[in-house]
Symmetry: C2
Subunit: 307 residues, 2 copies
């Protein structure tokens, strides 16, 4: 669908910018902005029986911010377009969503600078974020080179496992491992600092794994015209291997970077009190090589309905 | 609702930026961007029985661009978040909407730089636009001064009249006045050049009249802490006076500007082949004076469901 939309737009689209997590726009007078927009639709991306309105607001802002993280950009501001059902409770629903947005603003440091409120048959939260690479070059999906190390900023699968726990009706309260998983599902955190540090360390390509590690790694390889051989996939505690590979809604970053820069980047992250990324494999020149532990890796993950 | 959302966001919102048509964001490395986001929801803002999908796409982009026009900004790019029903025809619906976006891109010169496609129960098109004032100062709603002339860039009511014609089932074909009205409803044009020229001429305050002239003029006066006395409201051919005052979805600009600058701005517009704006009244220091032809002017217009 995105390809057909691209053809429909013809000359009205700039460059190849619909391919990346975010677009880059030069600003008259100096500088540039990195921009991305994302919708969260109740009943499609989230189930209001399993998430509070505040969780939806949090997830909408963090999901958009994750696209900036994947470019190595620092957030400047967000716009929130809220469509809420016109029922009696819609005012409370809107305020609940915005309370979660406000919490995510507090954690991310990205202020809300504008927005729009409409009524609609179902809750839709569309967040547009603007960011900056402060004179640097944003990191695209294309750019991975043969010999690059593949880094992952953290273990995967906790969000999908949290959703499984919620669907099974298990308690998400207390301090059980389940509570951590449910928290990962309801309150994911965009890896903004990690993206910025790894961009500065010289990352060649980055992508967030919001649609699932396996699928998003294939996309990075497709865009870069390369293959990969993974030796390992770190699975979050309480998650299954399938959830780690194809669960999606994890906001860890997948990074292709030269071996020395990988070490430098890891040290810089640790120096800032952040988790050291895990080397999980290497990029190969053979674009048909797509392996995990020697076996072909399927394109597992969330395929957009119209994608 | 916007006030309650503002309170919910607390310190997470920058300045008073939810008040204006668009927000202004400083960009590291120099310039600034003017940004705005707007949703068009089928069944709320548009009726798909009266508009083709391409009309919806056109209206969504032009509606967002009108917010840039009202700040005197030149468009740099747009992001389109499309939510389409997941039925069999959704692919065609999405492509139809984007065909109209592409036509509006051609007329406005604003390229699409990014987007998102999701499924949803109903068609929602959220467009975010970025613009620039090229080192100048964006024109806010607040800023009108006693003695300013009130200019209007064109006659009003044609969009509401077009909707009336469509609802009555009259033919919109051919070259009848009805066809012009229907065209004004389906294919409104943001006054981008007018906004930029009037900003450069020294406009003190601007607003688009997308929610209706009367309501938006009150908003401009509220924001500026002033009153107004209108002597005249130009009614589009085929429209009623009520449609001109409160119909909404007209994208003409309402401008408060010093008398000499008004003349200079009008001349500059005519020199560029654009319509001379009409002086329709004056700004007064008494914020309780809100008159049209000597009578109090009611707040007529489209009040957002949650506004």
């Amino acid at each position: 669908m995105v390809d057909r939309i691209r053809r429909t737009l013809g000359g009205g689209i700039q460059g190849d910018r619909l391919r990346d997590d975010a677009a880059v726009l030069a600003v008259p007078g100096g500088g540039s902005v990195v921009v991305s927009t994302d919708s969260v639709v109740a009943g499609v991306h989230v189930d209001l029986a399993l998430c509070a309105p505040a969780d939806v607001g949090w997830k909408a802002l963090m999901g958009a911010l994750s696209d900036l993280a994947a470019m190595g950009a620092r957030p400047l501001g967000a716009l929130v377009a809220l469509c809420v059902p016109g029922s009696d409770g819609s005012g409370e629903l809107a305020l609940g969503v915005m309370a979660g947005v406000a919490e995510a603003v507090g954690v991310s440091g990205c202020p809300v600078v504008g927005g729009d409120v409409s009524s609609a048959p179902e809750l839709v939260v569309t967040v547009t974020v603007l960011g900056s690479v402060d004179g640097g070059v944003p990191v695209a999906r294309a750019g991975a080179r043969a010999g690059d190390v593949v880094l992952l900023t953290g273990p995967c699968g906790s969000s999908a496992a949290g959703l499984r726990v919620l669907r099974a009706g298990e308690s998400g309260g207390g301090v059980s491992p389940s509570a951590d998983l449910v928290g990962a599902y309801r309150r994911p955190v965009a890896r903004l600092a990690e993206g910025e540090v790894l961009r500065q360390a010289g990352a060649h390509a980055m992508i967030d794994i919001s649609d699932g590690l396996a699928l998003d790694l294939h996309r990075l390889a497709d865009a870069s015209g390369v293959g990969f051989a993974l030796h390992d996939v770190p699975v979050a505690e309480g998650a299954t291997r399938a959830e780690a590979l194809g669960g999606g809604e994890d906001y860890e970053l997948l990074v292709a970077i030269g071996a020395e820069d990988a070490v430098r980047g890891s040290e810089a992250l640790v120096a800032r009190g952040l988790r050291a990324p895990r080397p999980i494999g290497v990029i190969s020149a053979d674009r048909d090589e797509r392996r995990l532990a020697g076996m072909p890796l399927a394109r597992l993950g969330w395929q957009h309905a119209l994608g």
